[in-house]
């Protein structure tokens, strides 16, 4: 507050502000005793006298009592003067001015009200007594009554003279019997109200029983209103514990109703106790039981339970329908009053029952509706102009104004439910949908034909033979099968062309490459060209600036996308509206790095080639807290991921499905010529290597597992592949660009090298088994690297060099297949002999994996949206496979060396330094190998290995599927 006063603004403040507290100022010292002064009420200084100066409040100029001062008076026995002795009060010794100080009121002598001329009012007394009953200690006014005044007021005396007696009402006598002093709520009239009709009625009732004719009675006495104010905070009608019950020695009733009117207690007060049951003494509720109580089994310490209380007003009613009303029997017997009586019991204090019932509200019934009334508003049908197409506009207008009386009513006037959607559309004025009106239009013509045929067949009469029907159905089926499996990419292209030709552009076509605007643009260009019927739309719409590989890839994508989203399906899309919000939910979380093929690993394990083949390394994100607990810095400080990193993939990507479909189909059939071209480039080198390894392993596995089965399966598969190959060749011929195609088909050089050069190499290596360790080690380490080099070199060379035609390919099938099988068997033998040795070489081979896999993932990153499967992965894989397959035997012996060396190393306390030594040699070796292999590949390039590839592929597929 004090601080507030400093400010200029005026605030309303209450009270006196404290003095500003100054810190430096010492606290106010209390005034010492000797400085305190005492003044009397007139302002005179007063002196206090200590023990030596005369004591308290001396008179007579500070002397005590007398001139002599504080002189002790002699002892006088009061024994003889007892009667005269007064009890001294403190006031006798006090100054009158000190009275107020000590709270002693000045006294005067007056006549007390008791004995004053005002007479006691009996009625008031009664009311008082009633209140006293309601008080906690009952009957405390009884004591007052004991001291009854001797005199009555003049009014009472006059009344008495007139014949009035206590307890009677005032008024002329009536010819009735004396009313019982029954306190009934109905007869209680407050103020100066006349006796109520109800009261008289009740008297009438009484007459019926005993009514002496010649006796008159005084009118009933009237109890005045109790104007005692409410002191409590309880609700209206609250009464608290009824002390009257305590007087009943019987204890408390079953249920205590705190809101019950006080009638019971009152009636008891007025003397007409019906209680024979009442016994003396105070017991139970609110009172203890005296020690002299004769009943020992009385529940002295009455236990009260809340269940005996009502928590709400107007609790359950007692069964006797008296509602606590202790009326005499005749009242309850009276039928027509029962309602009144029952209600009376519940009347709150200070309220009376209404004499007249409230006027009933008259409710008028609603008007009755006519029988044929329908609560729907109907409009007269409006004649549509469209329907009046044949009529001239003027007439139509006239007709419309005349409410269409002239127009013939349409048969379907019944209601909107009878209209079909088209009619409703015209009614609403909507445009017709762009798309086809029937599902049939969505079907291809052949399919539609087939359906029609079917329908016709079913419609045909039963006398037609079933053979005919089957004929009809079977032919379309075959046709369908042809259609559904597009034999080549060219066919696909043509199909796309056929589908898109002449279709007007619609903005709602699916945009598969939406994430790459330029690509999408090219795609749309392609589509436009298609629509114009451009035959080589594809080549023209592609970006010439792109590399060959990219172009070929994109070409493939476009063709596929255009076929998938051909106009028929786009017309389907017109029938649906686009979602307002693009949902991102259609992606799935997939762990980014998928584990490799288990079969390969299994094979590696059986060959005991642990290491790179069986090991896979993933990026793994430990939890931050875990790193902290392990006292290790977080390897990926920024990343929020935990565990293996996940990537979102499209759940329902078109290209996902394409992948599946493609892998299942025979490669030769599926591959369009263009895709052949790109196949070499499409797959990363890494992929090839991996595949070659896996292929090799699977082949090895198959050998060990089913040696007998192999020769049998091979011819069959080869023959089938032969057929397909021929087919493909035919197609190529049609196209006329054979050379190019063939060129692409050629497998890498090392395959040939593996096939033809392996046997001699193998021999030499096997003979050198167990030779000088160190050199061999170097070779071994170098080999895997060589392998990669070779493959890359050969592949590049293969593209440039021309190869033989497809015919030669097919012709050479048988021979190559034979060589394959023979080499396989031979390798299997060697495998069994040198199982342990081979493991290390494989591991060395795969040492390149992590690096190259990274490269592949980078490539993937460049992709956008749903990934396209590498168009001819399977084909290349087959090629690579064969290479490694054939190469394997040649390396066996070296592997063994490596193994030996390994063990040796362990003997020497597991020192790992040696490996470093070999590294130089590795490189040298590598160079050598590349040279030789490239030479080999050029030599053997002529041999067609398509069949070989296919066969291997088949073998593989036999095992995997």
């Amino acid at each position: 507050m004090a601080s507030d006063s400093d400010s200029d603004e005026d605030f309303v403040t209450y009270g006196t502000p404290l003095e500003p507290l100054e810190e430096d100022k010492p606290l106010k010292k209390p005034i010492p005793l000797h400085e305190q002064t005492v003044k009397d009420e007139k302002g005179r200084y007063k002196r206090f006298h200590g023990a030596f100066t005369g004591g308290f409040s001396a008179g007579y100029f500070n002397t005590v009592g007398s001139k002599e001062g504080w002189a002790p008076s002699a002892f006088v026995s009061s024994r003889q003067q007892k009667a005269g002795k007064q009890n001294a009060r403190p006031e006798d010794f006090m100054d009158e001015e000190d009275f107020s100080e000590h709270g002693i009121a000045p006294r005067e002598i007056t006549t007390s009200s008791e004995f004053s001329s005002s007479r006691r009012d009996q009625a008031a007394e009664k009311a008082k007594a009633i209140n006293a009953q309601a008080a906690l200690i009952p009957g405390d006014t009884l004591l007052e009554e004991l001291i009854a005044p001797a005199r009555l007021s003049i009014g009472v005396e006059l009344l008495r003279k007139m014949g009035w007696k206590e307890g009677q009402g005032v008024g002329p006598r009536v010819k009735r019997k004396t009313r019982r002093q029954q306190m009934d709520g109905g007869s209680r009239v407050y103020g100066c109200a006349l006796p109520s009709a109800g009261a008289e009625d009740s008297e009438d009732d009484d007459d019926e029983e005993f009514a002496p004719e010649n006796v008159t009675f005084a009118p009933k006495d009237v109890t005045p209103v109790d104007f005692s104010p409410r002191m409590g905070v309880q609700g209206l009608g609250y009464r608290g514990l009824d002390p009257g019950l305590a007087l009943l020695g019987h204890g408390a009733p079953e249920h205590i109703d705190l809101f019950k009117p006080q009638s019971e207690a009152r009636s008891r007060l007025f003397g007409d106790e019906r209680s024979g049951t009442r016994r003396g003494g105070v017991a139970g509720q609110a009172f203890g039981v005296g020690a002299l109580e004769d009943d020992d089994d009385e529940d002295v310490y009455h236990r009260d339970s809340m269940s005996r209380y009502d928590s709400v007003l107007g609790g359950e009613e007692p069964g006797d329908r008296l509602y606590g009303w202790t009326a005499p029997q005749q009242y309850s017997r009276n039928k027509d009053r029962s309602k009144d009586v029952s209600y009376l019991g519940k009347i709150l204090e200070g309220f009376t029952l209404a004499q007249k019932p409230a006027k009933e509200k008259t409710i008028f019934p609603p008007p009755s509706l006519p029988r044929d009334y329908r609560p729907v508003q109907g409009f007269r049908p409006v004649v549509e102009v469209s329907r009046l197409s044949g009529v001239s506009p003027a007439l139509a207008k006239a007709l419309r104004t005349s409410r269409g009386h002239m127009v013939k009513e349409e048969p379907q006037q019944g209601g909107r439910h009878q209209l079909h959607s088209g009619q409703r559309r015209t009614l609403l004025g909507e445009d017709a949908l762009q798309g086809p009106s029937s599902v049939m239009e969505l079907l291809r013509p052949e399919d539609r034909q087939r359906l029609l045929n079917l329908r016709n067949a079913s419609n045909q009469t039963s006398n037609q033979t079933s053979n005919q029907t089957s004929n009809q159905t079977s032919t379309p089926e075959s046709r369908v099968s042809v259609v559904s499996s597009p034999s080549s990419g060219l066919q696909q292209q043509q199909e796309a062309l056929a589908a898109w030709r002449g279709v007007q552009i619609s903005t709602q076509t699916f945009r598969p490459f939406e994430k790459n605007p330029s690509k999408q643009e090219r795609y749309e260009l392609y589509l436009n060209r298609l629509k114009q019927g451009d035959k080589d739309a594809l080549d023209r719409s592609l970006d010439p600036a792109m590399t060959e590989w990219e172009r070929s890839r994109e070409r493939d994508e476009f063709v596929r996308a255009s076929i998938l989203y051909r106009p028929s399906s786009s017309s389907l899309s017109t029938r649906f509206t686009r979602a307002q919000h693009q949902e991102d939910d259609d992606t799935v979380e997939v762990s980014r790095d998928q584990e490799g093929d288990i079969d390969d690993k299994q094979a590696a394990v059986t060959m005991k080639m642990f290491g790179k083949l069986t090991r896979e390394t993933f990026e793994w994100h430990p939890d931050k807290l875990l790193c902290k607990r392990f006292n290790v810095p977080d390897p990926f400080p920024g990343s929020g991921t935990v565990g293996l990193p996940k990537v979102k993939r499209d759940k329902f990507s078109v290209f996902n499905f394409l992948t599946v479909a493609e892998s299942r189909e025979p490669t030769a059939l599926l591959k369009p010529p263009e895709s052949m071209k790109k196949s070499r480039w499409d797959v990363s080198e890494q992929k090839k290597e991996e595949d070659c390894l896996s292929e090799m392993l699977s082949a090895a596995r198959s050998q060990t597992e089913t040696k007998v089965e192999k020769p049998a399966s091979l011819p069959a598969s080869s023959s089938s592949s032969q057929q397909t190959e021929v087919k493909a060749a035919d197609q190529k011929k049609k196209e006329g660009d054979e050379d190019q195609e063939e060129e692409e088909d050629r497998p890498p050089m090392d395959l040939f090298k593996a096939i033809f050069a392996s046997s001699s190499e193998e021999k030499s290596s096997s003979s050198s088994e167990g030779g000088s360790d160190e050199e061999e080690d170097g070779k071994m380490d170098s080999q895997p690297l060589n392998l990669f080099n070779i493959s890359s070199v050969t592949s590049s060379s293969a593209t440039t060099s021309s190869s033989s035609s497809s015919i030669t390919t097919s012709s050479s099938i048988t021979s190559s297949s034979i060589t394959t099988s023979s080499s396989i068997t031979s390798s299997s033998i060697t495998t069994s002999s040198s199982i342990t040795s081979s493991s290390t070489s494989y591991s060395a081979t795969s040492s390149q994996l992590p690096v190259s896999s990274k490269a592949s993932t980078q490539q993937d990153d460049e992709e956008f949206g749903p990934k396209l499967p590498p168009p001819s992965a399977a084909l290349t894989r087959g090629g690579a496979t064969s290479v490694s397959e054939e190469r394997k035997p040649s390396r066996r012996s070296k592997d063994k060396k490596h193994k030996n060396k390994k063990q040796h190393k362990h003997k020497k306390d597991k020192k790992k330094k040696k490996q470093k030594k070999h590294k130089h040699k590795v490189k040298q070796q590598k160079k050598k190998e590349t040279d030789s292999s490239s030479e080999d590949s050029e030599e053997d390039g002529q041999v067609s290995t398509d069949e070989l590839l296919k066969r291997l592929k088949n073998i593989r597929s036999h095992q995997t599927w």
Partner: protein, 317 residues
């Protein structure tokens, strides 16, 4: 004063039975040394875990609180805490001195096969039949694991922790090596269900036994196989294998009642310790001495390189 190092003695093998402890707790599912090798823990199938003195073979404390048989246990580096896992899907952290349950960790969906403290006992790692490894924090009051490693496709049968690396063996035939420092997960495919994995003492190799009755020593960094140890029988049970304290030998339980001991380098069987007629369920090698614990049925046997005087004392008693 530089004396030449004495020539290393030929490695000794624990071929003498020092004492047999009858654990009185049903079948002993696992027996483990504490970190200094003075005490041993036996996990009983009667839901109890018992702590024994290694030197005297006396029972020190019984820890009861598991709802089903105890499958594995590990003691912290300071011997103040024990963690144990059980078929009741819980991992319990015990206070050694009082024998009270410090924490009961629930979360595994199946029985918990293996449990390990991290080096500083800050994390408990537990592997369960539900295929997950859960990393429980002992420092905080969290009852959820810090991280759940759910890479395994099948039950985790064994796990070991060494510094910042976690090695798990799973029934899906893979040994997984989690490298926390590098943030890498190396998965080695073994093909046969793994029953037990171990680090070598030098931390360069991992040992894994699998149900094709083979124990393989793999190079930790590359995954290449350095050694393969066969001859024992491990076809159906989850049996332990371990390396000797000086990495000289590879030991493995066998279902034919023997403990096989191979020379690590040679791969030759150097000892075939007859333990009994039943299956040797568990074994544990002393962290520093040549001392081996084996568990068969309800007994734990202590094997040492030579019969010591302690043995005689025990006999005298």
């Amino acid at each position: 004063m530089a004396f030449p190092q004495p020539r290393p003695q030929a490695p000794q093998l624990p071929q003498h039975l020092l004492r047999t402890i009858d654990c009185q707790q049903g079948a002993v599912r696992a027996v483990r040394f504490n970190c200094d090798g003075n005490y041993l823990l036996s996990c009983g199938s009667d839901k109890s875990l018992k702590l024994w003195s290694m030197s005297r073979g006396t029972l020190l404390k019984t820890y009861s609180g598991h709802g089903y048989e105890v499958l594995d246990a590990d003691s912290s580096y300071d011997n103040s805490q024990i963690c144990s896992c059980s078929s009741d899907k819980t991992v319990i952290l015990w206070d050694v001195a009082t024998g009270q349950v410090t924490r009961k960790l629930r979360g595994h969906a199946g029985k918990v096969n293996c449990v390990q403290f991290s080096e500083e006992a800050t994390v408990i790692l537990s592997g369960s039949i539900d295929g997950t490894v859960r990393c429980w924090d002992t420092r905080s009051r969290r009852y959820e694991p810090i991280q759940v490693l759910d890479e395994a496709r099948d039950s985790i049968s064994s796990l070991k922790v060494a510094q910042h690396e976690l090695l798990t063996g799973s029934v899906d035939g893979r040994v997984r090596l989690y490298d926390l420092r590098m943030g890498q997960l190396h998965v080695d495919f073994i093909s046969s269900p793994i029953t037990c994995v171990c680090f070598s003492q030098d931390g360069q190799c991992t040992l894994s036994s699998s149900l094709d009755s083979t124990v393989r020593l793999l190079d930790k960094s590359t995954g290449e196989m350095l050694g393969e140890y066969t001859g024992h029988k491990m076809k159906g049970y989850k049996l332990d294998c371990c390396l000797s304290s000086k990495d000289t030998h590879v030991l493995s339980c066998s279902e034919d009642g023997h403990v096989y001991c191979w020379d690590l380098v040679e791969g030759s069987l150097s000892l075939k310790l007859p333990v009994g007629k039943a299956v040797v369920q568990s074994l544990s090698f002393h962290p520093s001495e040549t001392c081996l614990l084996t568990a068969m049925e309800g007994r734990v046997q202590v094997w040492a390189s030579e019969p010591e005087e302690a043995d005689e004392e025990a006999m005298a008693k």
